[in-house]
Symmetry: C2
Subunit: 265 residues, 2 copies
């Protein structure tokens, strides 16, 4: 048996997120079906974490095990041949024994994209959240400075989040102008369910002048979901990069320890 | 009667180009149908030029005439309400009497986008031409320096082009790296049919090392379509900007004079 690493990317518009669902198509299901065709045997593929319906991935890391022998190039080509066009396999490589994207991942970068120009854009329907008005990006950036660090993020946790506790370490929080969009970029090891979308919704309140710059820090300290801004739509959320080295880090989580990423974003 | 100017944008994947066709949906038809709903009368909309099936527009200028009274804001809102989601009205304004986008346009910027990374991109299917291998951008840029100026562009003219003569003035030709894409940007007053796509196909031959840097200049001088590279697919072609001021330029073409833009790109 060999363990393989897959680097994937997908347009989330057609999927109910990563994880298999009885209700409709998911990315995991599509990848497993394509892989089963390539290997000519049933396949089980696990990713570094789940993503919600409609969320996009520029980069996700996944893994599977098989005794079937394939070259990396053959595997990438075969997968892309069988995958739907809105999912791409970027790379495939043999991984060390025990490779587990969920436990070996050291960090993830999420981006929330807000389209601020008034007219809609034909090319970004479902790929950005269309606000249609200007935001005070400098005020949002100053407000976001309260987020990095190890905190109890209960205020930014969706109801029904399966995390065992609400403490996470956020490595960075940046608010950027990018042409006619405003981006919130959050980097961290693990995220609570809807954390990025609720943080974005909270910062947008500041950007619209409805709340002062100091308000997000107060929301964080309150540890109360009802104090934060709204959960913004999934369509603006992008998993940009998963930092998952092929060597386990010292002290990485063993199977059964608390899952750093219980349902994402 | 008032003449109105419309600034439009569309994703060309679902359309047989701008101009009405019996065989299928076009952008002109979609805009005219939406406008007829807004005005509650039949509408005729003319653009600065045609675009081919599958070609995208970040910006196109069009015009129509009506006696129905509307505010610019009401017109934009009404059009975007009735238009399909892959077409957007960016702006509407009352234009001077006689405003004619085809004749008043001073220049257009076209971009041909080549995706050079090996794996496909789920977000750019049909929006770029996927070559999947590296190009020598510097060699292409040096080769493209032969194109600007007033030339007989017969070598880069599709069969069946309706232009009365093949002489055009090309203001600039740039080849740029943009992340994992290579862009050919051509600016000029008018273009021959498939001109941008054939020029891009010619420069790609240089970028792949199949032809020397001096070859595109020889192709231009030959005035012979069979000497040039292939016509690249429409999906990579974008109309980026139409420079159409609301004042006629001195010596602008009168109706009936040679059409600078007989079928584009």
């Amino acid at each position: 048996m060999q363990t393989w690493r897959l680097d994937l990317s997908w347009d989330g518009r057609g999927y109910l997120g990563w994880q298999r669902q009885p209700q409709g198509p998911t990315v995991q299901q599509a990848v497993e079906e394509a892989l089963a065709r390539v290997l000519a045997e049933p396949a089980r593929v696990d990713a570094s974490g789940r993503t919600d319906a409609g969320v996009h991935a520029l980069h996700q890391v996944a893994a599977f095990r098989t005794a079937v022998v394939r070259t990396p190039r053959g595997l990438v080509g075969g997968l892309n041949h069988h995958l739907p066009r809105d999912i791409a396999c970027l790379d495939a490589q043999v991984a060390p024994e025990g490779f587990d994207p969920r436990r070996w991942t050291r960090g993830k970068l999420y981006r929330y994209r807000v389209l601020v120009r008034r007219p809609r854009c034909p090319f970004r329907q479902g790929l950005t959240w269309h606000l249609g008005q200007a935001l005070d990006v400098d005020a949002m950036a100053r407000a976001a400075a309260a987020f990095p660090g190890t905190h109890d993020f209960s205020s930014f946790q969706a109801q029904g989040c399966s995390a065992e506790h609400p403490v996470r370490r956020l490595a960075s929080a940046r608010v950027l102008r990018h042409e006619d969009e405003v981006w919130l970029e959050l980097e961290g090891h693990g995220f609570l369910r809807h954390q990025v979308r609720i943080m974005a919704g909270t910062l947008v309140e500041v950007g619209l002048g409805r709340q002062p710059e100091g308000w997000p820090a107060q929301v964080l300290a309150a540890r109360d979901r009802t104090r934060a801004g709204p959960t913004l739509p999934a369509e603006g959320l992008w998993l940009v990069r998963v930092d998952c080295p092929m060597t386990p880090r010292p002290g990485h989580l063993a199977a059964g320890e608390d899952d750093p990423d219980p349902g994402d974003t």
